[in-house]
């Protein structure tokens, strides 16, 4: 049984205009699946649909075998699905500590214990606890966003381009952190533009083109595979 799965998901922003056109994928516990594809392919839309932020027209989202398609977005973290969106993924007007404590209380956890546990996992954040999240650097902000999504010990974690806009040092840091999260047995769905780095980290890769899954294979062997640039071509210049 996979920890997180999408089954023939059709989703979009307006009725009758699907962006994701029947996509299926699955992630097992302790596995990282990279979700790749050209700009505008619908990667973020699929992730948002699985998080409950974009309506699913048909198909299903499964979390540890149970259908959560109809579960409201605000209950999914508690149910075990964390999501770190691509942009604006922390509350800039709240302190680091408030960002964490809010999610903890809303999930019904003891906010002090949950916060301290995350500070243990991300020591940098402990140092910045009283800072407004809007003042964090890009890398620190990603750490906080991931910590918020991990608070409730989710079975699955989705991240939308966590390395976007980060300097190479921070990218390495974020990816090393994801490897640690994987070791805790969490299923990770990683949307990435940085194809090479994602394939090196991930166990499997799913390539989405125009809302449909075109490839679902072990990640490592895809490094240097000529099919990848072919799939990305037409939508994006490939270096």
């Amino acid at each position: 049984m996979s920890a997180l799965a999408a089954r023939e998901v059709v989703a979009g922003y307006e009725p009758g205009l699907p962006i994701v056109k029947g996509a299926s994928l699955s992630v097992a516990g302790g596995e990282i699946v990279a979700l790749l594809g050209p700009n505008g392919a619908g990667k973020s839309t699929l992730a948002k649909a699985m998080a409950g932020l974009v309506p699913v027209a048909s198909g299903a989202v499964l979390l540890q075998g149970s259908d959560i398609t109809a579960v409201p977005a605000h209950l999914r973290l508690k149910r075990g699905l964390g999501f770190v969106p691509q942009t604006e993924n922390v509350f800039a007007n709240l302190t680091v500590r408030e960002n964490l404590e809010l999610a903890a209380s809303l999930a019904g956890l003891d906010r002090r214990a949950a916060r301290e546990e995350m500070f243990g996992f991300f020591p940098d954040l402990a140092r910045l606890a009283r800072l407004e999240a809007g003042r964090l650097s890009g890398g620190q902000r990603q750490m906080l966003a991931v910590a918020r999504a991990l608070l409730a010990k989710p079975a699955a974690l989705m991240l939308d381009e966590p390395s976007a806009g980060l300097s190479p040092r921070y990218v390495a840091e974020v990816f090393a952190m994801l490897a640690r999260v994987r070791q805790a047995g969490v299923a990770i769905l990683l949307v990435e533009q940085n194809v090479k780095a994602a394939l090196e980290l991930a166990d499997r890769a799913v390539v989405l083109v125009d809302g449909t899954v075109r490839l679902d294979e072990p990640a490592r062997p895809l490094l240097g595979d000529p099919r990848l640039p072919a799939l990305f071509l037409g939508a994006r210049e490939h270096a």
Partner: protein
């Protein structure tokens, strides 16, 4: 001089409490509610109605130096949830439906309509003549002799209004800073989609915002009635000062609205000796124009 400052702060207290509610509903629901003034009016009149029921014709025995007694506080406690119920009902019947399809302008116009209906309902039920919570005449205490900066006389009721406003603002600050619901309100104002991901039921948060905004409006209305008259137009007349204060403080900024309210109160108070009492509102208007011209994001800006 001192007297003008004191008068300004008392008017400013009422404006502050109203402006905080206005700024909260604006930042969470993303539209300027022109019906907010009517919540002050309704709060004042509902308190009057409950007071009538509680007293049932008997006299209200004043507490210590104040003009009113415990029944007024009991009536306020009943009026708070009743005013909140009105705000929730208008939101349910009007704003929530329109928000699904319309834009901010639709909501603003709808709030004008709601304001008109609410105001006319007050006139229909209670008439247009001014009312008072008590006929008790209060003796103002001389706090400062006349030869120091013009002196200062203030009634115990006015002092109480100042103290209670400070207390309410501190309580609200603690609520927004430390309670889960208060933090969820700040988070939702910043980013509703992320608030949902963090586990906040944003519909519930919106309802809580109406309840708090309406409760503050009710308190402000009772303070206005206690230090002045209860009239059907009292809330409407406060609308300009409320908006001036909220914009001055930086829309969405709670502390800004409090400070903005006090500044607007002072501006109105100092307008009186300059232009005459009938031009009080010119003070608010001048503040509003000045801030829009000089610094449209308000003194403290909305934190982006």
């Amino acid at each position: 001089m001192l007297q003008l400052v004191a008068d300004g702060l008392i008017v400013g207290s009422v404006v502050s409490l109203g402006a905080v509610g206005l700024t909260l509903t604006y930042s969470l629901l993303r539209f300027a509610n022109f019906g907010h003034g009517e919540l002050l009016t309704w709060g004042a009149y509902l308190t009057l109605a409950f007071l009538g029921l509680l007293l049932a014709g008997a006299e209200m025995a004043p507490i210590g130096p104040f003009s009113f007694g415990w029944p007024l506080l009991a009536a306020l406690m009943l009026a708070l949830p009743a005013t909140a119920a009105i705000a929730l009902a208008v939101d349910w019947a009007l704003f929530r439906r329109l928000a699904r399809h319309g834009n901010a302008i639709t909501l603003v116009i709808a709030s004008f309509g709601a304001a008109l209906a609410l105001r006319n309902l007050v006139q229909f039920i209670w008439g247009t003549l001014p009312e008072y919570y008590t006929r008790e005449i209060q003796i103002a205490i001389r706090l400062v002799p006349r030869d120091v900066l013009g002196g200062l006389r203030i009634t115990p009721d006015q002092l109480l209004v100042l103290a209670l406003t400070a207390a309410v603002v501190v309580l609200l600050h603690l609520f927004l800073s430390y309670s889960t619901l208060g933090r969820a309100m700040r988070a939702t104002a910043m980013n509703p989609a992320l608030a949902r991901l963090a586990g906040a039921d944003v519909a519930k948060v919106a309802r809580a915002t109406w309840v708090i905004g309406a409760a503050l409006a009710c308190i402000a209305g009772v303070f206005a009635g206690l230090t002045g008259q209860i009239r059907p137009m009292m809330g409407f007349d406060l609308l300009l000062p409320l908006f001036a204060a909220a914009i001055l403080g930086g829309i969405g900024n709670v502390w800004g609205a409090v400070i903005g309210g006090l500044i607007v109160g002072l501006a109105e108070s100092f307008t009186v000796p300059l232009l005459g009492a009938e031009y009080r509102a010119a003070g608010s208007f001048a503040v509003l124009i000045a801030i829009l011209l000089i610094r449209p994001t308000g003194l403290f800006g909305a934190r982006a």
